[in-house]
C-alpha cells in the first residue's frame, strides 16, 4: 500500500455528470418545443391569451351571489350525492375488498373480486356518469351511481391491500387463547386495519365531493349543471361565486375529515 503523496500536479475536481438526468432534461426541452409548435402556440397567441385572461378575470369579479338559492340547491344536491355515494361505496367495498384479499380467500375468488375492482377504476368518473345518464336518465341518480362505482374501485382495492398486510403473529396469539373466530377478527384483524380504513373513507369522501361538483356538467346532478349553465350564459360573475362556494365547502369537508380521523384512530 503506497501512498501517492508525491509532488504531482494537484487533482482537478471534475463534477461527475449525471448523464441520464441531462439527457432527460434535453428530451423534455425538445418535446416542449415540438408540442408547442403542434398546438400552434406562438407569441401572438400567448399575448392575446393573456389579454383575454385579464379581461376574463375582470368579468368574474366581483363574484355575484344574487342567485344564491340556485347555488345552495345545487351545492346541497352535490353533497347528497357525495354522502350517499360514499356510504354505499363503503358498504359495498367491505365484502368486495375482503373477497379480494389473497391471504384469506382462494385464488379464483380473489381474481373475480379484483376484476370487479379494476373494472370500477378503469374509467374516469365523468365517463361513467355519462353512461349512467344515458342508462337511467338525467339527475342525481346517475351521478350517485357513477360515484359509487368510483368509490368501490378505490376503497375495495386499498382495503384488500390492508388486509393482505396484516401481521399474522397477532392473530396467532389471539388464536392461542382459545378465542372464537369473530373475537379473533375483533382483536386481531380490525385494530390493524381500522386506522387505514378510516383514512380511505375520508379520502374518498373528499374525492367524491369534488367529483360530485362536476358530474353535473354531463347532466348527472349537482352544482355542475348550474355551473355549466352559467358558463353558457356568460354569467362569469356567477361562475366565480359558484367556484368560491365549491372551494369553501371542500375546505370545510377537509376540516371535518381531520376530526373524524382523530376520533376513530
Amino acid at each position: 500500500m503506497t501512498t501517492n503523496m508525491s509532488s504531482a500536479s494537484p487533482k482537478k475536481y471534475v463534477r461527475k455528470r449525471n448523464w441520464l438526468a441531462t439527457f432527460s432534461y434535453l428530451v423534455f426541452a425538445a418535446y416542449l418545443v415540438y408540442v408547442l409548435s403542434l398546438f400552434e402556440v406562438n407569441i401572438d397567441r400567448l399575448i392575446v391569451g393573456i389579454d383575454r385572461g385579464g379581461e376574463f378575470i375582470g368579468r368574474m369579479m366581483p363574484p355575484n351571489f344574487e342567485r344564491y338559492s340556485l347555488l345552495i340547491e345545487g351545492m346541497l344536491e352535490s353533497m347528497q350525492i357525495a354522502i350517499i355515494a360514499t356510504t354505499a361505496g363503503v358498504l359495498l367495498s367491505l365484502p368486495i375488498g375482503f373477497l379480494a384479499a389473497r391471504n384469506l380467500m382462494p385464488t379464483w375468488v380473489t381474481w373475480l373480486a379484483r376484476i370487479v375492482i379494476v373494472g370500477c377504476r378503469s374509467f374516469h368518473p365523468v365517463i361513467v356518469a355519462i353512461l349512467f345518464v344515458k342508462a337511467v336518465g338525467f339527475g342525481a341518480l346517475a351521478g350517485t351511481l357513477a360515484l359509487i362505482v368510483a368509490s368501490i374501485g378505490f376503497i375495495a382495492k386499498l382495503f384488500a391491500e390492508a388486509i393482505e398486510e396484516i401481521s399474522l403473529k397477532q392473530i396467532e396469539a389471539v388464536r392461542a387463547t382459545g378465542a372464537p373466530f369473530f373475537s379473533i377478527i375483533a382483536f386481531g384483524v380490525l385494530p390493524q386495519v381500522m386506522g387505514r380504513f378510516i383514512g380511505f373513507i375520508s379520502y374518498q369522501l373528499d374525492s367524491n365531493l369534488r367529483n360530485s361538483t362536476m358530474v353535473g356538467l354531463v347532466g348527472a346532478g349537482g352544482i355542475g349543471g348550474t355551473l355549466f349553465a352559467a358558463f353558457q350564459r356568460f354569467d362569469y360573475d356567477f361562475v366565480s361565486a359558484i367556484l368560491i362556494a365549491i372551494i369553501a365547502v371542500i375546505m370545510v369537508a377537509e376540516g371535518i375529515n381531520n376530526i373524524m380521523r382523530k376520533l376513530y384512530r
Binding site: K169, V174, A176, G178, A179, P180, F182, I184, A186, P191
Partner: protein, 267 residues
C-alpha cells in the same frame, strides 16, 4: 418419584399423575422429511422444563403442536383428561383456554393498549359481543390490574403496545397468558429477542409466576446457560428426536455435542 407411565396405561390415570403426556408425536411438513419423529414426553404438574437444541430441530413445532397451532401428523397429546390431537372446533378452543403461550416476538396487539392486550387473554371465555364492545366483567378487570402489578407494568395500563420496549412487551405478554388462568404455560424462545439482563428478569418472572400459580412451564430456549440456571429439567432435541432428558446438572459437554454438534463453541 412414580414410575414413568407405560404406553398401555389408561388415559385417566396418565392424566392424573402428569400434567401433559405426549405420545409418539410426529410432524411432517413435507412427507418423508419428518420434523418431529415419534416424540414421547411426560411433563409433571409443576416445575420448569427447558427444551434446548439447534434451530430447525423441531422445538418450535413441538411447542405449537401442544396447543394445536400446528397440527401433528400423528401422535397423542394428553392434557386435562383430553386428547388434544383429536379435538376440533369449540372443544379445541375450550381446551386452548387452559394453555397459556408466550412468544418469541411477543405477538402483542400492537395498536391496542396494554390493558386491552392483557384482557385479550380472556377472549376464550367472553362472548363475541362482549369482546367487540370491550365489556369485560369487573373480576376480569380486577385480575388484569393485579397481573399488571405482578409483572411490574401497572403504570403502563393505557399505553399502546407498540410504544413499549422488548422486555416490557414480554411482561405484558406473560400477563396476557396468565389472564387465561391456564393449567400450563408454554414459552417459545421467550428471551431470544431480549438483551441478557432482561432475559434473566423475564425468566425470573416466569419462574415466580409458575410457583405462585402452581403450574408447569415448558420453555424453548437456545441459551444453554440460562436453561441450566432456571430449569428443573432439560430436554435436548436434535433432528426431531429427544437425545437428552434429565436434570441440568447432568448435562455434560458430550450431551451438548450430540445435541448441537461441533466442539468449538463449548467453553
Amino acid at each position: 418419584m412414580t414410575q414413568p407411565a407405560t404406553m398401555q396405561e389408561p388415559l385417566a390415570q396418565a392424566a392424573q399423575s402428569k400434567a401433559l403426556v405426549i405420545k409418539n408425536l410426529s410432524k411432517e411438513y413435507v412427507s418423508g422429511k419428518p420434523v418431529l419423529s415419534g416424540i414421547s414426553l411426560e411433563i409433571e404438574a409443576k416445575g420448569i422444563t427447558a427444551i434446548i437444541g439447534p434451530s430447525g430441530t423441531g422445538k418450535s413445532t413441538l411447542i405449537r403442536c401442544i396447543n394445536r397451532l400446528v397440527d401433528p401428523t400423528s401422535g397423542d397429546i394428553l392434557f386435562n383428561n383430553q386428547n388434544l390431537s383429536t379435538l376440533s372446533g369449540r372443544q379445541l378452543r375450550n381446551a386452548r383456554r387452559h394453555i397459556g403461550m408466550v412468544f418469541q416476538e411477543y405477538n402483542l396487539l400492537e395498536r391496542l393498549t396494554v390493558m386491552e392486550n392483557v384482557l385479550s387473554g380472556r377472549l376464550g371465555y367472553v362472548s363475541v359481543l362482549r369482546a367487540w364492545l370491550r365489556k369485560f366483567s369487573a373480576e376480569d378487570v380486577d385480575k388484569a390490574f393485579e397481573l399488571l402489578e405482578q409483572v411490574g407494568m401497572a403504570d403502563f395500563a393505557n399505553q399502546r403496545a407498540d410504544a413499549l420496549s422488548g422486555g416490557q412487551r414480554q411482561r405484558v405478554s406473560i400477563a396476557r397468558a396468565l389472564m387465561q388462568s391456564p393449567d400450563i404455560l408454554l414459552a417459545d424462545e421467550p428471551t431470544s429477542s431480549l438483551d441478557p439482563k432482561t432475559s434473566v428478569e423475564i425468566l425470573e418472572l416466569m419462574t415466580e409466576q409458575a410457583k405462585l400459580n402452581q403450574i408447569p412451564v415448558i420453555i424453548n430456549i437456545h441459551d444453554v446457560s440460562l436453561a441450566k440456571r432456571f430449569a428443573d429439567r432439560i430436554i435436548g432435541m436434535s433432528a426431531g428426536s429427544v437425545v437428552f432428558d434429565g436434570k441440568p446438572d447432568d448435562l455434560q459437554n458430550d450431551h451438548l455435542k450430540s445435541i448441537y454438534g461441533g466442539e468449538d463453541w463449548l467453553s
